[in-house]
């Protein structure tokens, strides 16, 4: 019953988030601040992880292709496919569920504990619109972070491949360009937009409706991370089935 109640409350929260909009001059500032906190502030970790995981994907692929009949350029092909289809949109989103999701839950949860949300409500402000809507808008720029993850993942793969001596630069680039299907990028960005929505709203839900004190803020952050990750994995499967099969 609790799960059903939470699902209902989540959808009511989404509906409420779009009602009674906050004054644009105030909202503009909030959106810019959230873009800075959620997107710009995450680029460093996204870049670091993408580059090195791209490298690891390449090395593992190269080490597993030991049949002399399989051309070397397939390492570049496999890296591109892994990074664009799965690693950048999904793996990075799981990382972001930890980084951005915890930040959202703990910041909103702390506002709940310290009665700042009550203060907004008493003033006649739609606190859900004030707190969650700017995060939702900021996360619309999330595909920008994922584009960087795709580029750096392939770049990291290329560096690992060439400097590790697994294939030549030309072979790797040939593989990256081989049999490119533009729809795969569309698929990746459709997933990214769905994940962005989940990343903005699920942690907000757990922060906004939390009860208790500082300890519960920590628990809410953990729960938010778990459920955001679960929903990302679930939607990843559903969207892949719908769009690629």
């Amino acid at each position: 019953m609790t799960y059903l109640h939470n699902i209902g409350a989540y959808f009511l929260m989404i509906a409420e988030m779009f009602r009674k909009p906050t004054k644009w001059s105030v909202m503009k500032t909030l959106i810019l601040k959230d873009i800075d906190d959620l997107i710009i502030g995450s680029l460093g970790i996204v870049a670091f992880i993408s580059f090195f995981v791209g490298g690891v994907v390449t090395i593992q692929t190269a080490l597993n292709i030991n049949n002399p009949l399989i051309p070397k350029y397939l390492v570049g092909f496999a890296t591109r496919q892994s990074v664009i289809l799965e690693f950048a949109p999904t793996f990075i989103s799981i990382i972001m569920a930890g980084k951005v999701g915890s930040f959202i839950t703990s910041s909103i949860g702390t506002m709940r504990v310290t009665e700042q949300i009550d203060a907004l409500e008493v003033m006649g402000i739609n606190s859900l619109n004030y707190l969650v809507f700017p995060k939702f808008i900021a996360m619309l720029l999330y595909p920008f972070a994922i584009s960087i993850a795709m580029f750096l993942g392939i770049l990291g793969g290329m560096a690992a491949c060439v400097y590790g001596g697994f294939s030549s630069l030309d072979d790797f680039i040939t593989g990256v360009q081989l049999d490119f299907t533009p729809f795969h990028l569309t698929y990746a960005f459709i997933k990214t937009f769905v994940f962005a929505f989940l990343l903005a709203t699920i942690p907000s839900f757990y922060g906004y409706y939390m009860k208790g004190g500082a300890l519960e803020v920590g628990k809410a952050s953990t729960t938010a991370f778990v459920w955001t990750s679960v929903m990302i994995i679930l939607f990843n499967y559903i969207l892949t089935q719908l769009l690629l099969s």
Partner: protein
Amino acid sequence: MIEVKDIHKWFGGTEILNGISTSFNEGKTNLIIGRSGSGKTVLLKCLLGLYTPDNGTISYDGKIYSELSNDQKRNLRAEMGMVFQGSALFDSMTIAENVMFPLRMFTKQSKSEMQDRVDFVLKRVNLADAHSKMPSEASGGMQKRVAIARAIVNKPKYLFCDEPNSGLDPYTAILIDNLIQEITEEYNITTVINSHDMNSVMEIGEKIVFLIDGSKAWEGSKETIFKTDNKAVTDFVYSSELFKKVRKMYIEENE
């Protein structure tokens, strides 16, 4: 004036407010007192519209809150100021930004007009040089005064304070009490304070409502509380030897 009629509020199977009826007068400092768990905060949150009573009505200057449209409720709330127990300042904003916040949200004033108003209210609460400080850099007493400044910046008709001097030293607590009373008289605000501080009761309680287990057990003023024979009130208010002596002296002086 705020009128409360037969308010009931349940949480789960427990009745927290049990048919409270009273009124809070304009331009007066009204106190809700009672032991911890007596329902003071729930009553205050019902007055603020944060909780919806399960039964009964609350009316503001004759307008019943539950019968108002959402827009009317929002407009009414814009006329309320609230000082929370923990101040509830927005910790991502400076003190000046906190105080300016209601003006940014609800008025069309220019930045210089808003700045002038913020300067005025911060000066009024003796925080003229604290504009650029963050709430985390302010002491408990300063945070309470900033919360008062934020509550009055938009010239509210109703001011609500949840234990405004809890956790403060006696000197600062009296300063806060006096400040609230002065502001109430100055702007003719209907002020409702939730407190179990007996100094506040003696100093500023122009109207006092005493709650026990969610029911109104007594109501009166700081003058009548000295004379009352209501055992529940005397047990609560005069629980310390000091206040027993104060009461005795007051009665002797007035005989």
